[in-house]
Symmetry: C2
């Protein structure tokens, strides 16, 4: 019995690779500072749990394949408040943003088709695209160039007859890059001219700092047929364990075909949809508080990073990740362990400092490593202090 | 922009196709008898809701990609009670049996690979296999031959170099066919000799009637590398809306590779896992009560069906579906509407009698239609009476 070629080409998540080691350290009574996963420690709004507890049906029945009406209506309201006129028929509820991405790739990619993405990018895109038979074509970016990828020559330079879509994570994970209005205009121009789908992962939409705000690709009427918005309650409402995401698009043909997959998997869990409807109905002031908190954590992180020698990084404009360059440590040793790459470094930080991070090769840049600042400022400060002390031993 | 070939080859679920019409009739104040979906009306055990309500963490965090330890342990216990020695490492929790099937197909099928299935079969298999690039090779069976497919010549006759797996729904959906020990021995012999995966969908395992019981393919040690068991809480515990399923296999290589997909989609909803752990920990007497109830409903259904002229059917040995032959009505008319096929018939029953069923073409036998008897005996009796009256008008 042979496994499929595509599953053999997939990889275990580098983000979750360190989980067993962290579990081991925790089991040995050590506190582990988990900067590896984007798991906020902010309390899930009480409204979610209240709605779940108030569920009074005696049979936990299948939901509609599209999603329960209350959640679809709440989502319509949320989009309306940010200026988008998606109607219920333009929406599908999914098992997290992950299923949304997986469904979209299945719907648009034939074997060998290409999706353009700025690199570094959130690593799980690889699995979804590979599972659908496609390939990522990367546009490399670095902290030095401000993680810029929305440059006409850069994008048009990688277009081929196989290009089916551009996928944009905005704000960027792991870069924190937020697109300007001009950059978004350019991308819209390219997808319309070249008849490409534009997959817009805007799950960190509210987390944009320094008094700036971001536009959404959903606002471009001229590209309404191209644009597919992926969303999720995970980060926005600190409800990662609810696994509620969605797809929004005005492209009727696409939505009708996506429904085939939705119906085959029957539906998304009922209780989590009930709870998530309450989340999308929260007063918009909730986002102000959350944004303020993450901006504070970013500032704490950045200040602490400045104290660490040998580390270079771009200050993130949004989301809650840092992606510092650590290649100055490659080849260095504490006498016992030599660091050859960023995965070595991540393992070293975990073993010596009990700080979990992720090697950057997983995101397409092996000279960097990823840290999430979704955890409390006390945890961030202590974790950064440990990173500084551990790295100082490398000569 | 062109959609992928594979999504164009998929179909909307014929089971859910009638939902909008049924909704319309309900909106007009009519009671609709929903025999189309296998949605039990039996109360979900209180233990599920109690466990969910007792969840006291303030952050609804990501779960482990494999599943939460409590649920894995409860599942180990459940399997132990039916004589199977699956350990935690042999299990993966999935978003319903649906995701389990979708993951398995992705892991084992290369483009053009074949999966052998007895026809008629649960229609969503087509979508999962098509999405993975594979094809179903059907072994046709009929009520007249007792839905027999475990016959050496039948199976060996359709083996090709592209055959990758045999998928078995046991008890059958929509046939209610339950495999004998001898039939199971034969299938095991064939998969071992031909080095095939054996995908065993045993979600109706407890629903076997007439004092019989069924074995599980998980018990064959000689085929431990071939066997992949798909399971779900949906039917067994009347918890369809929890969307909790699982994969069990002793094939380490397969399980390690499936973990790649599990990690990419991060995890299954936390609360539904907490609730489902409580379900798997229920006293086994729960199954006796449920089985008794479904057997009673089957008997009520069968008696009522006997009153309907022109209908032929095989008495189901398990699960909760009937798949009667209705081709004697093809070409008949009430003066206004003429019935050409089983989908016409299903639509006619819905419009004239407000009884929702599913045309059999979706399951691979257009001469039949599917009814579920997961609803109450009062509903079944009234629905059958309506079917009888409506069909009596066709001349």
């Amino acid at each position: 019995m042979k496994l499929s070629q595509k599953i053999q080409e997939m990889e275990l998540s580098p983000i979750r690779k360190f989980v067993p080691y962290a579990d081991q350290a925790r089991a040995a009574g050590k506190k582990v500072y988990g900067l590896n996963i984007g798991q906020p420690d902010i309390k899930t709004p009480r409204a979610f749990f209240d709605a779940v507890q108030n569920f009074d049906q005696e049979v936990l029945a299948y939901a509609n394949s599209q999603g329960i009406p209350e959640l679809l209506e709440a989502l319509v309201g949320y989009y309306k408040r940010i200026g988008l006129d998606f109607e219920k028929k333009d929406l599908l509820i999914t098992n997290g943003g992950s299923e949304a991405l997986s469904m979209i790739m299945t719907a648009i990619l034939d074997p060998g088709d290409e999706v353009i993405m700025a690199e570094p990018f959130y690593t799980n895109y690889k699995t979804f695209i590979k599972a659908a038979g496609g390939n990522i074509v990367a546009i490399p970016t670095t902290a030095e160039d401000g993680y810029q990828y929305a440059v006409r020559e850069k994008i048009e330079g990688v277009l081929t007859p196989k290009t089916k879509a551009i996928a944009i994570i905005n704000p960027g994970n792991p870069t924190g890059k937020v697109l300007t209005k001009e950059e978004m205009d350019l991308i819209i121009d390219i997808v319309v001219k070249n008849d490409l789908y534009l997959i817009c992962d805007e799950v960190y939409r509210e987390f944009v700092y320094d008094g700036k705000s971001m536009s959404t690709f959903g606002a471009y009427k001229e590209a309404a047929q191209n644009v597919i918005i992926v969303d999720s309650v995970s980060k926005r409402f600190s409800a990662c364990g609810a696994r509620i995401g969605s797809i929004a698009s005005k492209n009727e043909d696409l939505m009708k075909n996506l429904m085939k997959i939705c119906q085959a998997r029957l539906c998304v869990p009922t209780l989590d949809q009930v709870g998530s409807a309450a989340l999308y109905n929260l007063d918009p002031s909730y986002f102000d508080d959350i944004k303020k908190e993450y901006e504070y954590r970013r500032n704490v992180s950045v200040e602490a990073l400045n104290e660490i020698e040998g580390i270079k990084y771009g200050v993130p404009e949004g989301a809650f990740y840092l992606f510092p360059k650590c290649s100055s440590f490659f080849g260095k040793s504490d006498g016992e362990t030599t660091i050859h790459n960023s995965t070595d470094l991540a393992m070293y930080l975990l073993e010596k400092g009990h700080v979990a991070t992720v090697g950057g090769d997983a995101f397409g840049d092996a000279e960097c490593f990823r840290m999430s600042y979704a955890t409390s400022d006390e945890n961030i400060t202590e974790a950064m202090r440990r990173i500084r002390d551990v790295l100082a031993k490398l000569k």
